[in-house]
Assembly symmetry: C2
């Protein structure tokens, strides 16, 4: 079930009588851009390059229209046409993202603390941020191995089965928490994957202890300990985590690193207050 776009209907704004404030609601009012982004999503989320017709069958646009749209996307470098005519994501995206990543202020603030935490634990350290009902990994610091970069960065994962995700949730006020929990469909990845109920009770624990754990809830053999990181105004809600294989991250080891992880989170938060707080 693709959680694709929701609604696109909003014809005729018969604005006779006055306006209600458009409070929340998730009406995409992004006009042309919105339609193009849907296409971009279709192509980037596909398993591989797509032919014109493949796209046509899922895009719900007339052929001529789709053709022009793909043309525009291609001309801008957001898509690429392979030799055989199929469409793949374009390199322009890499360029944009690398800039956006390099200058991200949260990431820059967190960077030294992530490195320190990696040194201390020897395991892989992540910084993630909540976006909607997903966690996007903003940075990742690994130990030795000739690394697979990008391996995780930029990836979106479900909130309810990652340490960073649960940590982030614990920082939210209840109403937002409820909104997210009710909007997510809980897939069962492993034996230990949480349900809405167990998630709620875990959140309570996290708020008390300051640490979130992932005990093979997302992937068998992978554990992690995390702590929430957020800015005061909640413009940033995320977390730091230390992740590793279960044979190294025994349950005792997780407890042992709970404090250092919390400390790192605190350092990052105080860095944010300094770096972002005062007027600029």
């Amino acid at each position: 079930m693709g959680a694709t776009d929701g609604d696109i209907m909003d014809k005729n704004a018969m604005d006779k009588d006055a306006a209600d404030k458009n409070a929340s609601a998730d009406k995409r009012e992004t006009g042309t851009l919105g339609k193009l982004m849907v296409l971009l999503d279709i192509v980037t989320h596909a398993d591989g390059p797509m032919r014109f017709t493949d796209i046509l069958s899922v895009a719900g646009q007339p052929r001529g229209t789709l053709h022009r749209q793909l043309g525009h996307l291609t001309e801008e470098g957001l898509l690429e046409v392979l030799a055989d005519g199929r469409y793949a994501p374009g390199l322009r995206l890499l360029d944009l993202a690398s800039r956006s990543w390099a200058r991200n202020e949260f990431r820059l603030i967190a960077e030294p603390h992530l490195n320190a935490l990696q040194q201390l634990t020897g395991e892989t350290v992540h910084l993630g941020v909540l976006r909607g009902a997903s966690v996007i990994y903003l940075d990742k610091v690994e130990g030795s191995q000739p690394v697979r970069m990008y391996s995780q960065i930029g990836n979106a994962s479900p909130v309810y089965c990652t340490g960073v995700g649960k940590a982030a949730l614990s920082a939210l006020p209840d109403d937002q928490l409820d909104a997210i929990i009710s909007s997510v469909s809980f897939l069962r990845f492993t034996e230990n994957t949480l349900t809405p109920e167990t998630l709620r009770s875990e959140i309570t624990d996290i708020r008390r202890s300051g640490n979130a754990f992932d005990r093979e809830e997302h992937e068998v053999g992978i554990r992690c300990v995390a702590a929430p990181v957020c800015s005061e105004d909640l413009s940033f809600v995320g977390g730091v985590s230390v992740t590793g294989p279960a044979y190294r991250l025994t349950l005792e080891r997780l407890e042992e690193w709970a404090l250092p992880v919390r400390r790192a989170a605190e350092s990052i938060m105080s860095g944010m207050r300094i770096g972002l707080g005062p007027r600029r």
Copy 2:
């Protein structure tokens, strides 16, 4: 295809009036999307987050229009509004890029060969591809250090002063080569940075020997040896390189690695023939 302009200007606008606007062929025929992408470029290329007014002053759009455009970009997650109202690149870009990177077929084919080359040399290995008059790095494999990911991947660099760039150029037919050379303005990064003339003569050498070198032409203290990688139909034109500090990469060492680099390039190309050649 045709004139694939699309490249975005080089960095560091040094003195040099260089009043000539880049090829006036600003025939962006991408309608609304084109305008939005210009904005996105403005924000991602800036040194930091920009206020509405900052953008207004360079975007050349009326306030109301700009306001709506930024609103759309923000709503789609391509831009983000910070707590103080300034605009920064959005996280959606990371998500899109990580997908586009992970599935890139050229990168996937090259990956094992890059790793092997890194193992052999112990230095940093790059895979880059030509796009317009720039080189975009598609992958990077480093040795040990707790890595700075994204550090280079996705970055666009000038063709004329990187090993990969020169290698890529050498694979092009003369007319395309001429087009690129004449479209680029040659900034002088170091003592050794090439000029259009020296570049041309180097290209001749590269075509003969099969290797391109960067002898501190982009950055003092950094050298590299590269070899061209391209698909038969030139839908992919790029290169592989081994890069490192001058004190380790002596000139003799560069020569020593010239052959392994060429070999890696050949392996990648034969992988492409298998992987991309037959119909799919």
